[in-house]
Symmetry: C2
Subunit: 329 residues, 2 copies
C-alpha cells in the first residue's frame, strides 16, 4: 500500500493541501472545526508527516528534548548545559530527562519526550536499545555513546588518541604495571575505551596490566582502585568521570600521594580533577564541542536535510602533576 | 463576577456535566466534534479547572516539570536527582528546564513546562518573578528560594543555624577578621544568608568583617576570595556551592594551605569539598531531603489538598580540617 500523503488527507477532509497543512500545524487561522476534521482524517488514514512536514511542525513547539544517563555526573551536566546554550542561541528551549544509568529506563524517557511533542531529540543511548528508537517519530541525534545499527546521526569521541597518549606517558614515566578502571559493556564508550586501552598496551608490549570491570559510578571507582592497588599497580587510568572521582576518593582515604605513590589519569576534565594538591591528568573529550555539534546535527535534520555522516572528535591527554613523575627525579 | 464552573461550560455546549468533564479530559469516548465544542466553550468562558479537576488530569500525562537555575551547579544537580528519584517512586516522570541563573529566563522556562501540560511543577524562583507564576495553571511548589508574595507552598532551608555555628566555630579558632562571599540580592537565599551572617557577627561583636557582594558563579567566588585576602581576612565563609568552588580555585592558585594559612567554610557538601588535602568544612542543606519534601508537597497539591504550610529545614555545620586550627596548636 502506498504511503499516505498530505494530499490524501486534504482530499478526505475536503480542504486544500495548504489548509490541511496549516490545520495539522495547529495554525489558528484555520477554524477549530476544520482543524479537528483534518486531524481525524490524518489519524484515520494513518498519515505520518515526512521530514519536511516535521520541520514545519518544529516551528510550533520550538522545544527539543534531551535524554542523558545522569544528572549528577559532571560530564553529562556539562553536555546538557552546552546543548541548552546552543539551542537557546537558535531560539529553541530544551527539556531534559534522565535515565539514571538504567538502560531499561531509556524507553520511558523516550516515550515521555515523544509524548511532549518536542521538535527533535538528542539522546545518549545504551547498547541494545535500537528498538526503543524505532518508536520515536521526530528527528533524533545520538551523542557520546554510539548505536550503529540504529542508523541515527551520531556525535562521539574517539578514545584511542587520548588513551594511547596516556599509556605512552605512563611508560615514559617508568611505569610498567598499569591498571584500568573499565566502564560497563552496556555502553559503546565502555567497550571502545577498553579496546583502546588493550590495543595501546598490546602494541607497546605492556603485559603487566590489570583491568577492573566496573561501571559509571564513583563507588565502583573507589572499590576498583582499592582492588588495583592490592594487585600492585603503579599507575591507574580511569575510564569515565564518575570512576575518576571514585579513584580520587580511594586515594584520599588511603592517604596516597598522587604523582609520588601512584600515577593517576582520569577521564574528562572538571573542577574536582583540577583542584587537587597534585592536579589530576585527564583524557579530555571537549564536552562543550560535542554538545554544540550534536545540536547542529539536529538542526540540520529538523530542516529536512538528509542524515549526515557520524562525527567523531578525537580525545586528548592533558598532563598534570598526578601522573608526572619526571618532576621528582 | 462568579468563577466559571464546569456546569456553566456544559450548559453553554449543550452537554451533560459528565460529558463536558470527559471532553475536557480528552476522553476518546466523546466524539471529536463534541470535544472541540466543549473546549471552545471552556475557552470562551475563561473556565479554569479546580484542583480536583487538575488532579484528575494528572492521571493523564504522569509527568512533572522542574525548573532549576543551573545544570552545572552540583547543588541543583543533586536536587534534580533527588526529585526525579522520588517522583519515579510515585510513578511520575520528570522533565527539567534550566534558567542558567538568568531571572529573565524564568518566564520562558515556566511557559515551556506549562505548554508541555505537565501535571505539576517544582520551581526555583528569583525575587520579583511573582507575575510569571500567575500564568501557571498547574499545581506548583517552590524549592530552595522563597517568593512569599506568590502564595505558593515552599520548601526552603533556614541559613541561620549553620551560619551562626560557622561564625562561632571561627571565633573559637581565634579568628576575628571574617570575610563573607555573598550571593546576589535577586534571590531570597542570597538575601537571607547575608542577613544571617550579619546578625551572627552583630550578636557576637565581630566588627572586622568583610563582605564581597557576589553572585552564584565560581569566577565570582574566585575574584571575591582574592579581594577578601587583600583586605586581610583570616577566614572566609562562602555563600553558595559555586562560590565555594571558586574560593577553592583561588586558594589553589595562590598556594594557600587551608587550615593553616586560611580558614575556609563552604556552602553545600559535594565531592570537590571533601576531596582536598584539608577537606573543606561546609554549611550543609541536606539537598536530598529538600527534594523529597518538595515532591511530597507537590503530590499533596496534585491530589487536591489545600496548600500546606511552608517547610523550613535547618542548615547544619560540618566541621573539617579546612577551618579547624585547633589541630595545629
Amino acid at each position: 500500500m502506498a504511503r499516505t500523503t498530505l494530499r490524501d488527507v486534504a482530499a478526505a477532509a475536503g480542504v486544500s493541501v495548504s489548509t490541511a497543512s496549516r490545520a495539522l500545524a495547529g495554525n489558528p487561522a484555520i477554524s477549530p472545526g476544520t482543524r479537528e476534521r483534518v486531524r481525524a482524517c490524518a489519524e484515520q488514514l494513518n498519515y505520518r508527516p515526512n521530514a519536511q512536514a516535521r520541520a514545519l511542525r518544529s516551528s510550533r513547539t520550538n522545544i527539543i528534548g534531551l535524554t542523558v544517563p545522569s544528572l549528577v555526573n559532571p560530564f553529562f551536566a556539562g553536555m546538557a548545559h552546552a546543548i541548552q546554550q546552543e539551542a537557546d542561541r537558535h531560539g529553541l528551549s530544551t527539556i531534559i530527562s534522565s535515565t539514571s544509568e538504567d538502560p531499561a529506563r531509556l524507553s520511558t524517557s523516550l516515550e515521555v519526550l515523544t509524548s511532549q511533542q518536542v521538535d527533535g531529540l538528542i539522546a545518549v543511548p545504551y547498547n541494545g536499545t535500537e528498538q526503543a528508537f524505532t518508536r520515536v517519530p521526530m528527528p533524533t541525534v545520538l551523542v557520546d555513546r554510539e548505536l550503529p545499527t540504529a542508523g541515527l546521526p551520531t556525535v562521539a569521541t574517539d578514545p584511542a588518541p587520548g588513551i594511547t597518549a596516556a599509556v605512552d606517558h605512563l611508560l615514559d614515566n617508568g611505569h610498567r604495571r598499569i591498571g584500568y578502571l573499565s566502564g560497563p559493556v552496556t555502553t559503546s564508550t565502555g567497550v571502545r575505551r577498553l579496546a583502546a586501552f588493550e590495543e595501546a598496551c598490546d602494541s607497546r608490549g605492556v603485559r603487566e596490566r590489570s583491568i577492573h570491570h566496573g561501571g559509571f559510578d564513583h563507588s565502583i571507582g573507589f572499590a576498583g582502585t582499592l582492588e588495583l592497588l592490592d594487585r600492585g599497580v603503579e599507575a591507574i587510568i580511569a575510564g569515565d568521570t564518575m570512576m575518576s572521582i571514585g579513584a580520587l576518593e580511594a586515594c584520599h582515604a588511603q592517604r596516597i600521594a598522587l604523582g609520588r605513590d601512584l600515577a593517576l589519569i582520569g577521564f574528562d576534565d572538571n573542577a574536582t580533577m583540577r583542584l587537587q594538591a597534585a592536579p589530576v591528568s585527564v583524557i579530555d573529550q571537549d564536552v562543550a564541542e560535542m554538545g554544540r555539534r550534536a545540536l547542529h546535527l539536529l538542526l540540520d535534520l529538523m530542516s529536512g536535510h538528509s542524515p549526515p555522516e557520524p562525527i567523531t572528535i578525537p580525545t586528548t591527554l592533558i598532563i598534570r602533576p598526578s601522573s608526572d613523575f619526571t618532576r621528582r627525579r
